[in-house]
Each structure stands twice: as structure tokens, then as C-alpha cells.
Symmetry: C2
């Protein structure tokens, strides 16, 4: 393992231990952000702070883009940027006490170099990048089969199916089924492992960047709804899938 | 553990080992039943046959109600009935290679006596009944909090949200989120563990009976869409939840 991969991996394992310990606490502080379904806990904030402390000790010149604590904007992507989601799937963390991920992406001069997605309670840790390949708990994984939409499952969320603004009901019909896990990390791991044909959701950079590096390393495709590269700035409609399912989605969603 | 609980538990662990071994096979025989999204594999059939062989050796007088091999109807529920779902979540078994369950319920004179739900790849095995309580991998679990719909997640499927025949979009709005796992066993375990406020789906007896025994043992509620006890005959619209969420669902779905 390269030094930087080894370092980030060990910080995330440590952060995971702290989160696991917090699961038994009755007094966890939970607040809402944009609405009653948008939660943040003290562990989201504490985990981000912990990861930033490690990053700053390792590379004081690095820039940070993160979900919590007012770090959700960057003027530009020059230099080395760490993109952090301390707890992806906070609703699951609170209500299910599982099915949430710690995620970090490392970008250099605007290009994804390494991605790390750690499903904490499942002890499933995927990491990788274009120079090293993709690993699942240390074991290298290959590109999944290039299946069509009709041959696989698709990750979506409930408002998308209800409002059907981009023909999501057609996606449901054509696929073999819809799955909703409430966690982008869980969905992106599933896509990387070949358990999904596609995943579509409104996502922020810290939701898609870490898993996105793994996707692209394995030849899977992702873009915004217009088919353009995701901008790492603000929330966008994320469309990701096998090359075949991705092309079908672009056609279906714009019919 | 009572003898019959110990026996069923050990058959299901054995069946799980056989299923795990089959996951690496490239030549698994997969067929469709009622349509292209309704799969059955040779492992569904082989697992049911294996379980029936064990049951018949243990209690030759027992009756069997099971998903596969033409055992999906029973004239009456007198005596001891084993209700079997050899692989609940066959689509997940085929496409995800996880998130499927082996499930057995034991009824005596029409009453649920024991339920067993085994999420094979997660090594999560819940069993119990009114005489013994409910256990998760051998550790007794208590009744989950009686949360309202607005305080929890709800398991639904994609066609229900799309067609909205019973105000499913209102359920989505009022809850904290929808989850779709593609496996009744996974959903019923989540309900029993307090990870859901409710679960609504079109289910057959082998889908709801095993988890249903656990639900009712812990004071959770289930019924068909009319609020009547599920009949153990044919597919019905299953509504299950905490007492509070269940009452809300009955009102919402009939508004």
C-alpha cells in the first residue's frame, strides 16, 4: 500500500471505532439541517474534525471539502484536495445503527486520485484509484460485467419515483428491481461490486467523489443528468452505472 | 433451547452453508416463474427439499406449506404445519449474492408457535415465539420502541410508490424515509429490531409467517389491508408496524 493510502485507511478505521462506540450512547446529540429528514449528529461533526486533524498533520497544505462545519465550498480544485463525508447515511446511522459509510476522496489538480468508502458496521472497506486498482478489504476486485438495465437492480430514492421528473418509473420497469438503501456509499459499493446496473440520486460532491473514483477506475460511468462531468460543486443529479446501463439511462431520462 | 428450536436452527444453518457454497458456481440454473422479475433457482428448490427431508424425519405427521415444488396450498391448518421459504429474496441471491433469508414458521392448530428468519450472508439469525421470546443470534431482544410513522423508516416496494393505490406517497412523506431491500425477511428483521416503523408489501404466507411470529411475540402488529388477520392462504397486502405506526397506516391507507 502507498503511504497515503495506508495513512487514510488507518484514520478511517480509527474513526469507525469511535463511531461504533457512540452507537450505544443514549444521549447522542441529533439536530436537523435543511428539514426534518436532513439530520446531523455530533458524531458527524466530531468525525470530520478528527479526520481533518489527521489530514492537516499529514499534509498542512491540503485543502478540505467536507459535508459538515462550513467546509462545503471550495474556491478551486488546485493542489491536493481531500473530500470528506464523515458519516454518509446519517439517517441510517441514527435509526438503523448500520448501513452508513465513512468516505474520503483525494483529488490532485482536479483529478480523482484515490477513493475510500468504508461501510463501518459491515466491516467492508473499498479503496483504490487509477494508479493502483480497486480493493475490497485488501483483495483486488475486477470490473463488474457490463450488464444492461434489464439485467440488473437500480438504486433510486422515493421522491424520484413519486415525482417521476426524469422517467424514473420507466427505469423501474425496465430494470430487474429498485433498491433504496438511504446511503450513497452503500449504493456505490454495490455498483462497484456488480450488484447494481445503475444508481441515480441527487448528490453532493462528498457523496459521489469517493465512490466515483472507484467507479471510473473500473470503467463504470458517471455524469450529471446532462451527461457532463460532475462539477464537485453543489448538489447535482448523479447518474452512474455500467457503460451499457449508463447509456440507456441517458436515453430514457431524456426521452 | 427447546428440542424443536434446536433442530430447526441446525437444519437452517446447514442449508445456509449449502447456499453459501453455491454462490461461487457459474452454472447455477435460474428460471423465471410468473414473469422476468420472478426468479427461482435450483438452490431454492434444493434447499426446500433438504428442509422437508429434515422435517419429515423429525415429524412424519407434519404438514408443509412452501414456496417451491407445488407445495404452496394447504387444505387446512390443523395439526403442526411448517411454512417454508427456502430463499426469500431470490433476486438478491442471484444479483447481490447477499440480502436473502432462509425462513421457517411452525404453526400448531392455526396458531404461530415459532418463527425463524436467517439472513445467511450477514450471519444474522432471529428466532422465537410466544412461549420463549425472541432471540438474535442467541441473545434475547426486547420489544422495539413504539415509534410513530413520522419517527421511523418504512419498507415499501417500487410498484406501490409508482401506482399509489393505497396512499403510499403519503406514507413516504410522513415517514423519515423509504427503504427497499427486496427481501421480506430483511424487512421483518429490521422491524423486529426497531430499525423500521412499518413495512407494507404484497406477500405470500411463507414471506410473512416466520417474521410474523416474531413481530407478534414482541407486541408489534400485522394484518391485511382490511385490518383482518392474515389468512396464510394466497398473496395478501401485508401491513406491519409498531402499534402506533400500524394504526396510522390503517388510517392513511383508507383515507
Amino acid at each position: 500500500m502507498q503511504d497515503i493510502v495506508k495513512a487514510v485507511h488507518s484514520w478511517m478505521i480509527d474513526a469507525g471505532e469511535q463511531i461504533k462506540e457512540s452507537l450505544n450512547r443514549e444521549d447522542l446529540l441529533i439536530e436537523t439541517k435543511s428539514g426534518r429528514k436532513d439530520l446531523v449528529t455530533e458524531m458527524d461533526k466530531a468525525t470530520q474534525d478528527y479526520l481533518i486533524d489527521q489530514i492537516m498533520a499529514y499534509d498542512p497544505a491540503a485543502k478540505i471539502l467536507g459535508e459538515e462545519n462550513g467546509l462545503d465550498q471550495l474556491a478551486d480544485l488546485s493542489g491536493r484536495v481531500f473530500i470528506i463525508d464523515p458519516i454518509d447515511g446519517t439517517m441510517n446511522f441514527v435509526l438503523e445503527k448500520e448501513n452508513f459509510c465513512i468516505m474520503i476522496a483525494i483529488y490532485e489538480e482536479g483529478k480523482g486520485r484515490f477513493g475510500f468508502v468504508y461501510n463501518v458496521m459491515k466491516d467492508e472497506f473499498l479503496w483504490g484509484g487509477p494508479e493502483i486498482g480497486v480493493f475490497n478489504n485488501g483483495k483486488e476486485i475486477k470490473a463488474p460485467k457490463n450488464i444492461a438495465l434489464s439485467e440488473g437492480l437500480v438504486g433510486l430514492n422515493s421522491p424520484m419515483l413519486i415525482h417521476n421528473r426524469h422517467h424514473e418509473t420507466d427505469i423501474s420497469d425496465r430494470s430487474l428491481g429498485i433498491r433504496m438503501t438511504g446511503c450513497a456509499g452503500v449504493e456505490l459499493i454495490a455498483l462497484v461490486k456488480g450488484q447494481r446496473a445503475a444508481y441515480v440520486s441527487h448528490l453532493a460532491p462528498w457523496d459521489y467523489a469517493p465512490g466515483g473514483v472507484l467507479l471510473e477506475t473500473l470503467g463504470l460511468k458517471m455524469a450529471n443528468i446532462s451527461g457532463e462531468p460532475l462539477s464537485l460543486s453543489g448538489r447535482e443529479l448523479f447518474v452512474g452505472g455500467t457503460p451499457q446501463a449508463f447509456d440507456e439511462l441517458m436515453e430514457l431520462m431524456h426521452q
